[in-house]
């Protein structure tokens, strides 16, 4: 399924950080949702800022407009505030993208578990993210770090417990 670009994507001013405060707010909101939906579509869990500048989402070759690194940083900061982004390094060159926050993932996973009557069973992380059973699920292909975080949220809710199996991690659902 090809990605559907929002109307702003082809609107040149979209790529210039607006000085008018109100306009800017609307612009940033649009950018955040675009970035997240693109990452979700591409199943991107990490972003490198340098690479991102060349990625189609921030660089529209058709209208010959692209975001400056400064503006990208502004957008990323917005995402971080919302909880959708986490910097991996101090220099802010790489980041983790959570187009779904861990809590949201946790809920989804638990829903699947309870729908399939698999409470009280144990899974390895690998089974959850890459198992055949979960192939149609959204969380299929979820990267370990994110999966772990999601399970941790469930752990807090006492709906799951993370356990160590041999050399890998697993989870028991309640």
């Amino acid at each position: 399924m090809s990605f559907e670009w929002p109307w702003q994507y082809n609107f040149p001013p979209f790529f210039t950080l607006q000085p008018n405060v109100d306009t800017r707010q609307k612009q940033l909101t649009a950018w955040c949702s675009l970035a997240l939906s693109y990452c979700r579509h591409q199943k991107l869990y990490t972003l490198d800022v340098m690479e991102a500048q060349e990625s189609p989402v921030f660089n529209n070759k058709k209208i010959q407009r692209k975001l400056s690194t400064d503006t990208i940083q502004v957008i990323f900061e917005e995402l971080r505030k919302k909880g959708n982004l986490e910097w991996i390094d101090k220099n802010k060159t790489r980041c983790l993208i959570m187009w779904r926050r861990p809590e949201e993932w946790g809920k989804l996973i638990y829903q699947w578990v309870s729908n399939n009557g698999m409470t009280n069973s144990v899974f390895t992380l690998y089974e959850l993210s890459n198992g055949d059973d979960t192939e149609n699920e959204e969380f299929h292909g979820l990267e370990d770090w994110l999966l772990l975080r999601s399970l941790q949220t469930l752990q807090l809710e006492r709906k799951a417990e993370i356990i160590t199996l041999n050399e890998s991690k697993g989870v028991k659902f309640f």
């Binding site: 702003q8 040149p12 001013p13 210039t16 008018n20 306009t23 407009r65």
Partner: protein, 381 residues
């Protein structure tokens, strides 16, 4: 002979020459002395002798030093002489040819005769004692005369004397150079005038006459001070600015209409000064006059944008209308740069940019800043 002092040989003011005689030799007491034959001069105040070969060498003695004198007739091989008995030299006597002398008299030997006449004149002067009631003063020392009457220097004393003279001369020249007399007299006039104006302003009595104002201004201008009288006092402005504002109100109406109700202040400045031809306005005066538009209820306004650009606009000029029309224009064309907008409306680029920026501020437009330039779009966000 130690009563004599070196002299320039110049007569002082009020000193008159009485008689002079050539071929006179001076004797220190009985001794011939180191002086040669010379010219003996008698004045109302002094007895002077000048070496006939070296005119620089000149000595003098005040007549007050003379106690009495007597004639000594000459003989075969001997010239007639006058013996002059002298008072002791005063302690503050200036340097002379002889430091000390064991004699208290001198002899004047007249080689070429003339002692009778001289003696007679000397007697007259001694009787009259004119030096006692005719005060003398130093003659005006111009460079030519001082050169002519320079004393002949002998030995170290002479060198010192020459140096001293040189120094005195230089001093005098320099002080003449820096003579500020004429300046001070001119300044006096100006000080008087400024004082009178200041007092008038203080007492608020009477108008400062135009004449005085003009004179004062001309002084200040010559000193390099531009018009110091501040044109604005707490925003109330002066009469001049009020008049000017009224005048501007009339002149600017037509051009403003043409330009769509708004003109940059720089354009106004050029327009007005070109129209005036003479008596041009300064930018300051223009701004101050424009600031009074509102107070004088004229249909013009001075407006300052965020960027600092100053414009004059008609009061009837409505900003909302302008912005709405700007939005229409941009929407029509899809997007516009300030240059395109300027061309469309027949405005200057500066003003068109200001208008677009204002529309953006209001949220009607948004910007697209790229390598292609700055474009404005309708705000679809």
């Amino acid at each position: 002979m130690d009563r004599f002092v070196w002299s320039s040989g110049l007569l002082e003011i009020n000193e008159t020459l009485v008689i002079q005689q050539r071929g006179v030799r001076l004797y220190d007491g009985e001794e011939k002395g180191k002086m040669d034959v010379g010219i003996l001069l008698l004045s109302t105040h002094r007895l002077l002798w000048r070496d006939h070969k070296n005119h620089d060498c000149c000595i003098a003695m005040p007549l007050s030093q003379i106690v009495l004198f007597e004639e000594q007739a000459g003989g075969i091989g001997k010239s007639a002489k006058i013996v002059v008995h002298l008072h002791p030299a005063p302690s503050n006597k200036e340097p002379g040819p002889y430091q000390t002398s064991k004699y208290s008299y001198i002899k004047l030997s007249f080689k070429e005769h003339g002692q009778i006449e001289f003696s007679r004149r000397l007697s007259e002067e001694m009787t009259q004692r004119r030096w006692e009631h005719v005060p003398v003063s130093q003659p005006i020392n111009t460079s030519t005369t001082s050169q002519a009457g320079r004393t002949r220097a002998v030995g170290i004393v002479g060198i010192e004397r020459k140096l001293e003279e040189k120094r005195k001369e230089m001093d005098k020249n320099i002080s003449e150079l820096f003579n500020t007399e004429p300046f001070i007299s001119q300044a006096k006039e100006m000080v008087e005038l400024s004082r009178s104006i200041a007092s008038k302003i203080k007492d608020k009595q009477g108008d400062i006459t135009e004449d005085e104002t003009i004179r004062f201004k001309s002084y200040l201008l010559s000193m390099g001070i531009a018009n110091p009288v501040t044109r604005e006092t707490h925003g109330s402005g002066t009469h001049y600015h009020m008049q000017l504002a009224k005048q501007l109100g009339e002149i600017l109406l037509a051009p403003l209409e043409e330009q769509g109700g708004m003109m940059a202040l720089t354009e106004v400045y050029c327009l007005v000064n070109r129209a005036r031809g003479m008596e041009l306005l300064s930018p300051e005066d223009l701004v101050n006059a424009c600031k009074m538009f509102e107070a004088l209820k004229l249909p013009l306004r001075l407006r300052i944008f965020d960027s600092g650009v100053m414009v004059i606009q008609l009061q009837s000029h409505s900003e909302e209308e302008m912005i709405a029309s700007a939005l229409d224009n941009v929407s029509e064309k899809g997007s516009l740069t300030s240059e395109e907008f300027a061309k469309l409306l027949g405005l200057s680029v500066l003003l068109s940019k200001e208008r677009l920026l204002l529309a953006e501020k209001m949220g009607h437009l948004c910007r697209d800043d790229s390598v292609e330039g700055l474009r404005f779009y309708p705000n679809l966000f």
